[in-house]
Amino acid sequence: MMDQASILIIDENHVRAAIIQDGLREAGHANVRWLNETSNLLKRIADIDPDVIIIDLESPNRDVLEQMFQVSRLVKRPIAMFVDQSDSAAIRDAMLAGVSAYVVDGLRKERVKHILDMCIQRFDVFSRLEEELHEAKTALADRKVIERAKGILMTAKALSEQDAYALMRKTAMDQKRRLIEIARAIVMAGEVLK
């Protein structure tokens, strides 16, 4: 069954917003919108008039949303923060995932919980993706440094590629340091001695 609650995502990260949007649609929430332009934010929110607002915690704009708790001339319906005050575990989970939600008063709790759980899941997926990307980038950068260090050794000591690599490995083991650290030191020395 499709859920017609209108959900607004405020996230300046395009990729993450897309991942969350897809997740919510797959879970049967047809009415999902995304705002990445946040100037004059309250006015934009008032125009869209959503039932649920999902916002990432990195956004300074959370403080802008705090005004909605007061009687504001800009927002038509009263807004509350998600979940019971007593449900600290749910709020903690959301904050640890990096997301917060504001909902229009009166929306059924289970419906909101379903939406937020989906968002938490998708935020986690995104964090994992980011982490993997970061690791892949680091590994690639490390490999480049090691290649350069190998080249420097081959020229300086007239070694074969295999011997240059073996020398670095042995040095790393003898000094109880990582191969990449030795490679960095060689590259740095190579720069100085150039």
Partner: protein, 383 residues
């Protein structure tokens, strides 16, 4: 070694927690502080009340509103230390400042004259059917909002009907001024200076023009933490007190500016931080202004949390919301400020000697025993 998780916003008034770590004052107390930078006051509040922080840099009015459940879940907090007084400015957009100059025939000479001139600008706009001017502050419950209301009243402007208020996070202030989304703002440094440098705004008042020692940011903890871990809190307070002393000393301002400017803290140029610490700012394209107590970190009237200040904040919050005061709630607010913790930690046994805990420089006199009269006078000044 006990590790305390402390949240902070990247602002100059986070100097004390940062110096407590960087200068080793915490370590000397056998305390390890893990500083966590945040992006919004809402995050700070939520992480503190849901136990992801043990303590935090916080807007003084937010500590009161959170404890009373105004605008969010009610979670009692304890404030055992005040981090600073003042440090904010009121800045008008270039366009509004020009309008103020036009009615005066010259640049305003002080905060009072600028507010009075703004009143005339507002009256003219009303006649011509122009929309209300928009003021931005950093959070609904902030000393910034309180300061702007006082300044507006000084000019005879009704803060509730003659202007609109909205929240804009400090990093977006300058862009909002330049795009005409807002016409004025109250924010800490370096954002006012940025507006002046880039020609999109002029400073018309310093926070210290409005009050001598209104509480701006404080150290806030969960009330339960104060009860469960008094020893850790005492250590933290002693470290903060030493840091406050160090931060206040002009001799250290060069080092402090360098410390705060680092990328993991504020990530701005040391010169920018130094200007605010020195209290000498360019206020418009041609003039600079110096004020000795532009931003103050140390003093018993600042660091020792005076419950009368909490009562003042409560009265200001309620008049801001245009809601009636309640004495039971005022007492609850007063109990948030904990001089007992400060005294137990520092061995202080002096009672606050100042007659006037806020030091308002104009407007209705504040008497903490008679909040009703004070709030009534504020509301009347607004009519």
């Amino acid at each position: 070694m006990k590790t305390i998780r402390v949240g902070f916003m990247p602002l100059i008034d986070a100097a004390i927690p940062i110096a407590a770590v960087e200068c080793g004052f915490a370590e000397r107390e056998g305390l390890e502080i893990a500083l966590v930078r945040e992006t919004s006051w809402a995050n700070i509040r939520d992480k503190l009340i849901h136990d992801l922080f043990d303590a935090s840099h916080m807007l003084a009015p937010l500590a009161i509103s959170t404890s009373l459940g105004i605008g969010n879940a009610k979670v009692p907090l304890a404030v055992p230390f005040g981090l600073n007084a003042n440090g904010n400015c009121i800045t008008l957009s270039a366009r509004l400042y020009r309008a103020v100059e036009e009615v005066l025939g010259h640049s305003p000479v002080d905060a009072r004259q600028s507010a009075q001139a703004l009143k005339r600008v507002i009256d003219k706009r009303k006649l011509s059917g122009a929309p209300l001017i928009n003021f931005a502050v950093v959070f609904p419950f902030s000393v910034h909002a309180i300061i702007v209301r006082h300044w507006l009243r000084l000019g005879g402007i009704d803060p509730h009907n003659d202007v609109l208020f909205q929240v804009v996070p400090p990093p977006f202030m300058v862009a909002n001024l330049s795009e005409g989304v807002i016409d004025g703002c109250c924010v800490g440094e370096p954002w006012n200076s940025r507006a002046v440098e880039s020609g999109v705004g002029s400073i018309v008042a310093f926070g210290a023009d409005i009050s001598r020692c209104a509480p701006d940011k404080v150290l806030a903890l969960r009330d339960t933490m104060a009860a469960q871990e008094p020893e850790a809190i005492y250590r933290l307070l002693r470290a903060y007190r030493a840091a406050a002393h160090w931060c206040q000393d002009r001799e250290n301002h060069g080092n402090l500016a360098h410390m705060l400017s680092q990328p993991q803290y504020l990530g701005v140029a040391p010169k920018t931080v130094l200007n605010a610490l020195s209290g000498t700012l360019a206020v418009n394209r041609t003039e600079a202004r110096s004020m000795q107590d532009f931003l103050v970190f140390e003093g018993d009237a600042i660091n020792r949390p005076d419950p009368r200040k909490a009562r003042w904040l409560y009265a200001e919050i309620m008049t801001g919301l245009r809601k009636p005061l309640d004495e039971a709630q005022a007492q609850e607010a007063a109990a948030v400020f904990r001089p007992d913790l400060f005294d137990a930690a520092t061995g202080n046994n002096a009672l606050p000697e100042s007659q006037d805990p806020i030091g308002l420089k104009f407007g209705p006199a504040f008497d903490s025993d008679d909040l009703q009269s004070y709030a009534g006078a504020l509301m009347q000044a607004a009519e």
